[in-house]
């Protein structure tokens, strides 16, 4: 067996050089013994010289380099040998690291995980104490990490506390930041660190009061904040007393009889009456109708949706356009035609010379009907019952706006207005009559244009849609 001495605990470069040299002469893992500094070598026995096959061009994947840099920070003396075993194995099986259940791969991953956790805990549990110095305040912390992680953990503090001067002292290494550069030094003893800070009393008060004694879960706490860290956490001295008193405090809360509301409460209650339930008298204006529709429960569509999306536009509009129902965006924004189909409509209206501000825009159904599919909400066509239930609102809008011409965008809208199923192709582009004799103009819904797969059809259908809108606007002008 051959002894390899590395000068210090986290000497990645030294390990790499030694390992590479050993590979080049084909020394198998069991032929090497790794120690750090002047660490004892133990018994080096003379094994049978195994046949050596030199490895001429050692190869390592990128992932192994990262793994080495992490694992080497572990305090386990066996880590150098473990890494060499992996390196050795990688020469025969370049994909070895993907075999997560291989004992060595697994062990290295466990070690790396422990390091990441240790670094994370250092980021979490370092507690700075402020010390006044002639050149200004400096923040000093004492911490005892499990592994050799000070260098790896320090840049985080630099990025976070850039504007402070700080030092983190540990038994292994120390880190210093002066506002401009990060330096490291030898470990020190605990008595070098300050023992108190002016905000610790506040921090303890916070800790004690954010704790809910009715939900004691000590195991969950210690799993994430193991006891070995407690001695350096100023808040930890409260843990014992808080746990002890918790049972009694929780019981006292349950046992206490409800008290009468305070005078202050009574005064508030008089000042701020509970909002009245929307009254059911027939609306007198369009605005009143809109307000009432907010609480509509005529069909079940209200429940999963965000809000009622009522029509928008001047009550004096001479043109009214009716779509099918609000979509995902309209449901969130609370206004009709603001999503992709709305954008398409805007474009077409502009091209047809129809000012959107002079049109009353609404939908046959006022709530978004959808089916949840993973993270998305898929549009679903409203059924006859829902269209019929919501016709109440559409008729209310028609009655207040009294448009000279109503444009049905798509089949659902046409169905809602005519009370029967409609084939768009047969009735579009000309004036027909609503059941009450008023004028109706039928065309497609802009979302139909969005769904067309090929560009040519899209352009053709878009032009037709613009033509329809232009026709409707022109017809209205003749009245």
């Amino acid at each position: 067996m051959r002894l390899i001495r590395l000068p210090h605990e986290t000497d990645v470069a030294g390990w790499r050089d030694a390992a590479r040299a050993a590979l080049l002469v084909g020394e198998p893992p069991e032929a090497l013994y790794w120690v750090v500094g002047d660490g004892a070598a133990g018994d080096l026995f003379e094994g049978d010289e195994a046949a050596r096959t030199p490895i001429v061009a050692p190869k390592v994947p990128r992932a192994f380099i990262t793994l080495t840099e992490t694992v080497i920070l572990h305090r386990d003396p066996g880590r150098f040998a473990l890494l060499y075993r992996l390196l050795w194995g990688l020469q025969a099986q370049p994909q070895l690291l993907e075999d997560a259940s291989h004992p060595d791969v697994h062990e290295a991953e466990q070690r790396a995980k422990a390091i990441r956790r240790d670094i994370h805990k250092m980021h979490a549990f370092v507690r700075f104490r402020e010390v006044e110095e002639p050149e200004g305040a400096i923040f000093i912390a004492w911490f005892e990490p499990d592994n050799f992680i000070v260098e790896a953990a320090a840049p985080f503090f630099m990025r976070r506390f850039t504007g402070m001067r700080w030092s983190i002292l540990t038994p292994d290494r120390c880190a210093f930041w002066d506002g401009n550069s990060l330096r490291f030094g030898e470990g020190v003893s605990r008595d070098q660190a300050p023992t108190e800070d002016r905000l610790e009393a506040l921090w303890r008060i916070y800790y004690a009061n954010i704790f809910n004694p009715a939900r004691l879960k000590v195991a969950a706490m210690t799993r994430e904040m193991p006891r070995r860290y407690w001695k350096n956490l100023p808040e930890a001295e409260l843990i014992g007393p808080l746990i002890e008193a918790a049972g009694e405090r929780a019981q006292a809360m349950v046992a206490a009889a409800p008290t009468a509301p305070s005078a202050h409460a009574a005064a508030e209650a008089r000042r701020r009456p509970v909002a009245p339930i929307v009254d059911a008298d027939p609306p007198q204006t369009l605005a009143e109708a809109k307000a009432q529709a907010v609480g509509c429960r005529r069909c079940p569509l209200w429940e999963p949706a965000t809000q009622t999306v009522f029509g928008e536009g001047p009550a004096s509009a001479r043109l009214m356009m009716v779509g099918e129902q609000p979509g995902d965006r309209e449901d969130l924004a609370g206004a009709p035609f603001v999503g992709p189909a709305g954008k398409m409509l805007d474009r077409a209206l502009a091209e047809a010379g129809v000012p959107r501000t002079e049109v009353y825009l609404t939908n046959a159904v006022k709530h978004f009907k959808f089916e949840p599919r993973g993270k998305f909400r898929l549009h679903k066509t409203p059924d006859t019952g829902e269209i019929a239930a919501c016709r109440f609102w559409l008729e209310t809008e028609l009655a207040f706006v009294k448009p000279q011409l109503t444009v049905a965008l798509g089949a659902s809208a046409a169905q809602a207005l005519l009370g029967r199923k409609v084939t768009i192709g047969r009735e579009r582009g000309r004036v027909t009559a609503l059941p009450n004799g008023e004028a109706l103009w039928v065309t497609v819904h802009p979302s139909y244009l969005l769904r067309l797969p090929d560009e040519e059809a899209k352009a053709r259908e878009y032009a037709r849609f613009v033509e329809d809108l232009r026709g409707a606007w022109a017809w209205r002008a003749t009245k």
């Binding site: 993907e98 259940s101 402020e130 850039t162 195991a219 508030e268």
Partner: protein
């Protein structure tokens, strides 16, 4: 006048019933250029844990616990006789910076009782965040509780400086809200959440076009109180699924209704078991990361309630024994994710590992923690559960003994 210490005691106590603690998901930033303090690096950090097992990552306080509203489940309701206090904007700013400099916290989670008017209250909250960001160039995490009735302009200001906004839906059913929180308006809550989702998405789009586009909070979350009304677990999960889908929430928090000092007489005397809250989180996890639909989770529930004795995945598997055993060396990812005891990480490792070897039981046990639970449900190169899957006492056999949950 109370001292800051006294106020902190009152206003931390008043804030602790909000379960939300996350400080993850903010855009990455640090103070190297500004030479100030603060950073967010994706994963939030829990700087301490309280004996209730909850992570302390943010300074979670109320600006004031005076409130005009009378929500029965809330310790701050107007009719409660608790002591009241109010912080000034500056006091909160100083506390946040002081705690942050000492590495006690990741940032601030600020909420408030409603005083004077929703707009006034919201403006106070926004001013704290604006002072931190603008005057002190603070780059730590800021979570603001949003008041649904406040002016959208205030919401926009809040989003410009906060990393997360949240609005609590409070109760899973509208009827319950009407009964227990009569001044809260569910429609307005939903509208505000819809508005926030739109703003988040618009800002994201705009930032793709230009890095200088104004920023907006990167996420929103909400909380539901469990056990203050009679809503069952499946209805709660249904509400949660709807909220995730509608508003793309980062998280829904479930908070088992907890006894509070000076409770209202309208509330149930019994508090729900904490295990119920735990099971809901597990089910929520199954929906978000394991491809389970509420209807599937429902098959493992009894009378609308999740099984308190076993976790919801195991409960589901016990009802679908025909789907098992699955071959660890062959089954697809989605199938493996349904094996009780397997987590997303272990499944990923198995998939990677099995390309190089035929997995044996020992290999699998190295990769997952719950091998005992998993055994009757899997086949490996050297393991067949045989008839184990059909045993009537399977539940007793695989249910973890002495749940690791206090």
């Amino acid at each position: 006048m109370e001292t800051v210490l006294e106020k902190l005691a009152i206003l931390a106590d008043a804030a602790k019933y909000d379960a939300s603690c996350a400080s993850s998901g903010a855009e990455k930033r640090n103070s190297m250029a500004s030479k100030a303090i603060g950073s967010t690096e994706g994963m939030g950090i829990c700087h301490a844990y309280a004996p209730d097992g909850r992570c302390i990552s943010l300074l979670k306080i109320l600006l004031t616990n005076y409130c005009q509203f009378d929500c029965h489940y809330c310790v701050n309701r107007v009719s409660s006789n608790v002591r009241r206090a109010r912080f000034s904007v500056k006091e909160v700013v100083d506390l946040t910076l002081g705690f942050y400099q000492r590495n006690y916290i990741e940032g601030l989670f600020l909420s408030s009782g409603i005083i004077r008017s929703p707009d006034y209250t919201m403006e106070q909250l926004v001013r704290v965040a604006e002072s931190l960001r603008r005057e002190h160039k603070f780059a730590g995490y800021i979570h603001l509780k949003t008041i649904p009735d406040a002016d959208p302009l205030l919401l926009a200001r809040a989003g410009a400086v906060a990393d997360r906004l949240s609005i609590n839906v409070e109760l899973p059913r509208e009827e319950s809200l009407a009964r227990l929180a009569p001044q809260k308006n569910p429609e307005r809550i939903r509208r505000a959440m819809g508005g926030i989702r739109l703003k988040i998405e618009e800002a994201k789009e705009a930032r793709k076009e230009s890095r200088h586009a104004p920023r907006f909070s990167t996420g929103q979350s909400t909380q539901m109180i469990i056990g203050a009304d009679s809503t069952d677990d499946l209805a709660i999960l249904g509400s949660a699924a709807n909220l995730y889908g509608n508003y793309k929430l980062s998280r829904v928090y479930y908070s088992a209704f907890s006894p509070i000092p000076d409770a209202s007489a309208v509330l149930p005397l019994m508090r729900p078991p904490l295990m119920r809250e735990h099971r809901l989180y597990q089910a929520d996890w199954l929906m978000r990361f394991y491809g389970f639909a509420v209807e599937e989770i429902a098959t493992g529930a009894v009378g609308g309630m999740l099984d308190l004795g076993v976790d919801p995945k195991l409960a589901w598997a016990l009802q679908h024994r025909e789907c098992f055993p699955v071959d660890v060396n062959r089954a697809a990812r989605e199938v493996l994710l349904r094996v009780p005891g397997f987590g997303t990480k272990s499944v990923k490792q198995m998939l990677s590992s099995r390309r190089w070897r035929s997995l044996r039981l020992e290999d699998v046990s190295r990769l997952c923690r719950g091998i005992k639970t998993a055994m009757p449900f899997i086949v490996t190169a050297d393991w067949q559960p045989g008839a184990a899957i059909d045993r009537l006492d399977l539940r007793e056999k695989v249910a973890p003994q002495g749940e690791l949950f206090a």
